[in-house]
C-alpha cells in the first residue's frame, strides 16, 4: 500500500515515454490525465505523475521536486546528480558512442590527436571521459542533430547515443568507442527513500515484479 503522497516524474515525450507508461500499466497503475498537461493522477490515490523533459528528470529527483522518476541512465550521469538508482527497467537500451567520419584515419579513441573537436549533447560525460584518458579535446555542446556536425565542418567527431547504428551509417560516420551503456532507470530522491520508505518500497516491488531482476 502507498501511504505517503508520492510523485513520480515521467518523460513528457520521446522514446522513453510510451514504455514507461506501459510499464506502470502492467504494474497496475493507470494514469489519469488532468486538465493541466504536465500533471496527472493515477489509479493509486497517493501517487501523482508529473510530465517533464527526460533530461530534466534527474534534476527534479535530485532536488526532491519529485520523489521518483523514470529516465535514461545517460541523462542521470550527464547531470551528475546524486540519486538512488533503484531499478534497471530494461527498455531504452542504447550506447553513448564516439564516431568519426568514415574516411577518417582514426580507428580508436587512443589515436585521437590533442585539440580534436567533438560535438555532443553530453558535454559533462564526454569531458570526464577524455580527462580520464589524459587527452585534451575541445568539446562543442549542441542541442541535437549532432550527427551532421562533422559533415558541415563544425566538429571532427561526435559523441552521441546510438541504439541500432543506422543514424551513424546514414551520416557516413564510423563508431570508434563506447563511453557508456545506458537504459531506462527508476531513480529515487535520497531523502524520500528514507522518509517514505514503506510506500516507495511497496511501489518499487510492484514494478520490480514486472521487469524482473534482470
Amino acid at each position: 500500500m502507498i501511504h505517503d503522497k508520492l510523485s513520480m516524474a515521467l518523460p513528457n515525450k520521446g522514446r522513453l515515454q510510451e514504455p514507461a507508461i506501459d510499464l506502470l500499466k502492467k504494474a497496475g497503475i493507470q494514469i489519469v490525465r488532468t486538465e493541466r498537461q504536465y500533471l496527472a493522477e493515477t489509479s493509486e490515490p497517493n501517487l501523482e505523475i508529473i510530465f517533464v523533459r527526460a533530461s530534466d528528470i534527474p534534476a527534479y529527483v535530485h532536488f526532491g521536486a519529485s520523489d521518483l522518476g523514470i529516465t535514461g541512465y545517460d541523462l542521470v550521469a550527464e547531470r551528475m546528480v546524486e540519486v538512488y538508482d533503484l531499478l534497471d527497467l530494461g527498455f531504452g537500451r542504447c550506447e553513448l558512442t564516439m564516431a568519426v567520419p568514415k574516411r577518417s584515419k582514426i580507428y580508436s579513441v587512443q589515436d585521437l590527436p590533442n585539440d580534436f573537436r567533438i560535438a555532443t549533447e553530453f558535454p559533462n560525460l564526454t569531458s570526464a571521459y577524455f580527462e580520464k584518458l589524459g587527452k585534451k579535446v575541445e568539446i562543442i555542446a549542441v542541442r541535437g542533430s549532432t550527427e551532421i556536425t562533422p559533415s558541415v565542418g563544425l566538429a571532427d567527431a561526435i559523441v552521441d547515443l546510438t541504439s541500432t547504428g543506422k543514424t551513424l551509417k546514414a551520416n557516413d560516420l564510423r563508431p570508434i568507442g563506447t563511453l557508456l551503456v545506458s537504459s531506462a532507470r527508476l531513480v529515487c530522491n535520497k531523502i524520500s527513500l528514507r522518509t517514505k520508505e514503506k510506500s516507495i518500497s511497496a511501489l518499487v516491488s510492484r514494478i520490480r515484479s514486472i521487469v524482473g531482476d534482470g
Partner: protein, 431 residues
C-alpha cells in the same frame, strides 16, 4: 560586454537582505560550537593540490578548481576543510593538549554541474574533533550536529548513522582490483542492486561476504539491523565494529536526542575515501537533499605527520540549511537597516547630527545620518521606504532647548525628547 554583467556559473551575490539572514544562521552555528568548547580555525582558501587531495578520493579531486602558480606548482581551491585541518593538526598541533576541538565556517569550491541546492562556491559550517578514538567522540560529533541544526531553527532534524569500517573490512578479504571495489561501493551507495549483483558475481569474494554486501543497501532501521548483521558473520573485526557502533548509539541517548531522530543505515558508504569508521548524514523531510554529513577519519592525519591521531568531524551545508529553513517556512525577523535616521533640518545642524549619531552608536543603536542634503519631507520619505523605525528631526529651535523631535514611523507619532535621553528613549521604545 555581456560577460561584464554576470558572475561565473555556480557563483552568486548575496544582497544585504539575504546576507543578513545568512549572518543570523552563521552566528547561531558559531554560538553553538562555542558553547560546546570548540575553537575557530581558519586555513588558506587555496593550497597545494596534493594537500587538498589527500585522502579525498577521485571524485572530489576531479571536482576541484585547479591552477598553476607562477612557478608551475599545482594549486587548488579548497573543496572541503578536513584535509586542511588534518594538515594543520599533523604539522602544528601534534604536541598540543588533546582532545582538540575546532570549528570553521568557510566558503568551499567545487567544479560541479550547478543546480538547485548546488553551487560551485558554497558555504560549510563544521567541526573537527581530534584525539579520541572512543565511541564517545563519535556520539559528541553527532549530538553537536543535531544541536547546531536545531539551534538555527530547523525542525524534525534526522540523522542516519552508518559504519564504513564494515564495508572496508569485508572488501579487504577479496584482494580486489580498485575498479571493482569502486563499482561495488558506488552501487551500494546508489542502491543499484543490479550493478552490485554483477560486480559481486565477477568478483572472487566468498559467498558469505557477498551475502552481506548484497544486504548492505537494505540494512536500515533500529538496532535490529546490527543483530541481523551479527548473525551473518563470525568475523571478530566486524563484531568489534558493531559493538563500537552500539556504544555510540547508547551514548547518544544521554544527549536528549529525540526518539526517532536517529536511524542506522549501513548502506551509507560516503563518497570521500578518508572515512574509516562511524559516518553520518543529516537531513529534514522537507528538503530532498542531505544537509551535511561527517564521520571518523583515523588515518588521515598520519598522511601529514607519520603519527596516528584519531579524529572525527562533520560539515553542514549552509546553503542547504537556508533552503530547508525556507521550506519549513521559518519566520525570519524582518531585517531593519538602521534603528534611527538623524535628519538635520538646516545646514547649521549637520555637525550636530553626526555628534548625536555617534552618541547613539555608542549606546548600541544603529544609526545613520542624512548625507544627501534632504529637506524634511524627502528625509521622512526615505526613512519610511528604508524601513527605519525612528527619524530624529534636528531643528534649530528644539536644539536650542536641548531637545529633538523623534518621529515614530510606524505609529506616525511625534515626541519631543531631550537629546541626552535619546538613547534611553529609542531603546525603550524599541521592541
Amino acid at each position: 560586454m555581456f560577460i561584464k554583467l554576470q558572475t561565473p556559473r555556480g557563483t552568486r551575490d548575496y544582497l544585504p537582505e539575504e546576507a543578513a539572514v545568512r549572518r543570523i544562521v552563521e552566528d547561531s552555528f558559531r554560538r553553538t560550537f562555542d558553547l560546546w568548547g570548540y575553537q575557530e580555525i581558519r586555513t588558506p582558501t587555496f593550497e597545494f593540490f596534493d594537500v587538498l587531495a589527500t585522502g579525498t578520493g577521485a571524485e572530489l579531486e576531479d571536482s576541484m578548481f585547479k591552477f598553476q602558480d607562477k612557478s608551475g606548482r599545482l594549486i587548488a581551491l579548497r573543496a572541503e576543510m578536513t584535509a586542511s585541518t588534518a594538515r594543520v593538526v599533523g604539522t602544528q598541533l601534534l604536541n598540543s593538549l588533546k582532545p582538540i576541538r575546532l570549528w570553521y565556517i568557510a566558503n568551499m569550491f567545487r567544479y560541479d554541474e550547478p543546480q538547485a541546492g548546488r553551487q560551485r562556491e558554497f558555504w560549510q559550517a563544521g567541526i573537527e574533533l581530534v584525539g579520541s578514538s572512543l565511541p564517545e567522540a563519535d556520539a559528541e560529533a553527532i549530538a553537536l550536529m543535531i544541536q547546531a541544526l536545531k539551534d538555527i531553527g530547523l525542525k524534525d532534524v534526522r540523522i542516519d548513522v552508518g559504519q564504513v569500517g564494515i564495508f572496508k573490512e569485508l572488501i579487504k578479504q577479496g584482494g580486489l582490483e580498485p575498479e571493482t571495489v569502486d563499482q561495488i561501493r558506488t552501487s551500494i551507495d546508489k542502491k543499484d542492486r543490479q550493478t552490485l549483483e554483477k560486480a559481486l558475481e565477477a568478483s572472487n569474494l566468498n559467498e558469505d561476504t557477498k551475502k552481506i554486501l548484497r544486504l548492505l543497501p537494505d540494512l536500515r532501521g533500529g538496532t535490529e539491523v546490527l543483530n541481523r548483521l551479527s548473525e551473518l558473520t563470525r568475523s571478530p573485526e566486524i563484531g568489534q565494529i558493531v559493538e563500537n557502533l552500539k556504544k555510540t548509539l547508547d551514548c547518544l541517548k544521554s544527549y536528549a536526542v529525540p526518539e526517532g531522530a536517529i536511524t542506522i543505515d549501513l548502506g551509507i558508504i560516503r563518497g570521500i575515501d578518508y572515512y574509516t569508521g562511524v559516518v553520518f548524514e543529516a537531513y529534514v523531510p522537507a528538503l530532498g537533499m542531505a544537509l551535511g554529513g561527517g564521520g571518523r577519519y583515523d588515518d588521515l592525519i598520519r598522511e601529514f605527520s607519520s603519527s596516528d591521531v584519531p579524529a572525527t568531524g562533520f560539515a553542514i551545508g549552509v546553503d542547504r540549511c537556508m533552503l530547508a529553513l525556507e521550506k519549513q517556512a521559518y519566520p525570519f525577523l524582518t531585517v531593519t537597516k538602521s534603528t534611527a535616521l538623524i535628519l538635520p533640518v538646516t545646514e547649521k545642524m549637520r555637525g550636530e547630527a553626526n555628534r548625536i549619531a555617534n552618541l547613539l552608536r555608542q549606546s548600541g543603536i544603529s544609526t545613520e545620518t542624512d548625507i544627501s542634503g534632504w529637506n524634511l519631507s524627502r528625509g521622512l520619505s526615505y526613512g519610511s521606504r528604508a524601513n527605519i523605525p525612528y527619524v530624529v528631526v534636528l531643528g534649530e529651535e528644539e536644539y536650542g532647548r536641548g531637545t529633538a523631535v523623534v518621529r515614530d514611523m510606524k505609529a506616525g507619532k511625534q515626541t519631543e525628547v531631550k537629546i541626552d535621553d535619546l538613547p534611553v528613549f529609542l531603546r525603550g521604545e524599541k521592541t
